[in-house]
Amino acid sequence: MRLAPDPEVEKFRADFSAFLDAHLPAPEEATVRSKSSADIPDWARRWQRKLFDAGWLLPAQPPEYGGRNATLPQVVAHLEELSRRRIYHSFNPQGLNIIAASLLTFGTEEQKREWAVPLLRAEITASLGMSEPGAGSDLAGLRTRAVLEGDHFIVNGQKVWTSGAHDADVLLTFVRTDPEAPKHKGISVLLIPTESEGLVRRPFGSIAAPDDFDFNEVFFTDVHVPKENLVGPLNEGWRVANGSLGHERTLLWVHYAERMDALIQDAACDEEWHATLQMDVQALRLLGYRLLGPDRNPVEISVLKLLGSEAAQSAELHALEQHGAEALLHPVQTGPYTHMNLETFNASWFERYARSFGGTIAGGTSEIQRNIIAERILGLPR
């Protein structure tokens, strides 16, 4: 244990910081705002492309995939530098952190070239088709069916909550390919272009507004998908699912810490909850750093997700209540405008609190995280 920063990590951070100083788009270039998690405005596409070309997009990757073979502590420094400046990493976060990252892990060379690189360069965007009306927490119960006929899969079924699907070019879709096998063993993953015949997307509003479109229902009726769009081996989709969410979750704590830091500033006060928030973010960081060490149990990610999402939510509730009836006003800005980030992070107090439920519901609910901790860390019986 030591407080002093690792010189190699600090050099890395300073290099990235200098890059940002030199190349960050000016506010007047960035007036067009992103409308969904798969909608990247042109200026942001150019910016993501610039990060890719300079090896600052996904630093852990090799240069051909927008990185510079960085170490894990360097990757953390990269995210911390972005969050310190309130810069959104990508306006298609799932396309970058889940879909492209999964293709780089599980995809063929051709899939990396055809899909991963264009995603990384923000030439196309992607959404993740996992949840279904009957498969949420019990994701492995998914029923969207894909049958291989000749050189195509024929896909039938429905996805829901598919964030950004109406703006995406392709969906990384989890489908059942062997209905006879135990539920975890009959799942496969397909890249399905959204322009495919028989694929219908219906965006629906969030709690924030009827036209705040990110959620989608996606219907598949005899959709033909070329068999080379299979990602990873047939019927091994569960492994890809774990890998995909693993990518997303390993460093998710940095994003919770970012929201909590913003809240510390935006709702500065001398109430006790504010001290709790300062303690929570400090503990979250320390747990995150500790998780970078060797021989840590990856299941501990659940501790960080649970602590981060619930601490942020509790603090947003305190901030809301502290503002009393004023907190009803909407839309208003509750934090500094930052052209490189989403407006939702400094939206009205009511909206901020409502959006904090994204943290405790998406990506494995708090209840599921508690089950994981109890069963896989404490060893309680299933």
């Binding site: 690792d6 001290a275 303690m279 747990l287 750093y289 019986p381």
Partner: protein, 283 residues
């Protein structure tokens, strides 16, 4: 920064765990001699934290905590025998003052070390009969709690809470109702998971405090308060959920749980509760 134990610290942790488990039945005097022999009283802050966490886990009956974290930071040395310190400005609830060989007093004239027997501090009757707290009646006391004392109590409480969770986990695994272990019920699992998260949160903040003291970092004052406040939050969850999950068994004298519940709660009440430290963090 790096926030994991190095090999030597890991080894120390293992040795402390083994020693504490092995010598559980030893009389107090022999325990004390073992600690001295192993050099634990001289340990620097991080290593001391490792020792204290395990002694907290074992509900150590000796005056180790008071000697290492109440006397030493005040006097700037170890006592002859055992020791404690008075730094609350009042001398009201001083850990082990009734049995310390030397007592360091924080007075308006600076630190004064007095012979324990001479001061004849009066032991107070408290809910936990294994806990020694006493009143030290001397004039001119001033307040100034050492960071090490806050950290020491905090990390000991983390140990107590870990013990509570271990006892509870063992209980809910073997206790059957409705034909299944009660640990298979989600209502039970979620309470246990909340205890685990509270412990991890308190643990990292306690070790961060130890680290800032070890490196004399300017953040040490705030870090010590955060550690003590988080340990206070942690014992609240662990006392509440631990007692509840143990069922009526936890309500009796005839089980181990009660000892650790009392230690954890006493830790919060001594040297300022979680709420007091949180308020102090805001000024």
């Amino acid at each position: 920064m790096e926030f994991e134990f190095d090999d030597e610290q890991r080894l120390l942790q293992r040795v402390v765990r083994e020693t504490v488990t092995k010598s559980r039945a030893l009389p107090e005097k022999q325990l004390w001699d073992t600690y001295l022999e192993l050099g634990w009283l001289d340990a620097p802050p991080l290593e001391l934290a490792i020792v204290l966490e395990e002694l907290g886990y074992a509900a150590d009956p000796t005056p180790f905590l008071a000697t290492a974290t109440w006397f030493a930071p005040l006097a700037g040395r170890l006592p002859r025998g055992s020791g404690t310190g008075v730094f609350d400005g009042e001398g009201k609830f001083v850990l082990d003052a009734d049995r310390a060989d030397e007592i360091a007093l924080l007075t308006s004239e600076g630190v004064v070390v007095r012979d324990g027997k001479e001061l004849a501090a009066e032991r107070l009757s408290v809910f936990d009969p294994t806990l020694h707290v006493a009143r030290v009646d001397v004039p001119d006391l001033v307040a100034g709690v050492p960071d090490l004392a806050l950290m020491g109590l905090a990390v000991s409480m983390v140990g107590s809470c870990r013990r509570i969770l271990d006892l509870v986990v063992a209980h809910v695994k073997q206790r059957h109702q409705f034909g299944v272990p009660i640990g298979s019920f989600q209502a039970v699992k979620h309470k246990a998971a909340d205890m685990y998260v509270a412990i991890e949160r308190a643990k990292v903040l306690a070790y961060f405090s130890a680290l800032t003291i070890a490196e004399d970092d300017p953040r040490r004052g705030r870090a010590a308060r955060m550690a003590k406040a988080a340990a206070g939050d942690c014992q609240r969850v662990c006392f509440q959920n631990g007692f509840q999950l143990f069922g009526a068994m936890g309500y009796t004298w005839e089980n181990e749980l009660q000892i650790h519940l009392k230690r954890a709660k006493a830790g919060d009440l001594l040297l300022g509760t979680a709420s007091e430290h949180r308020k102090a963090l805001l000024v």
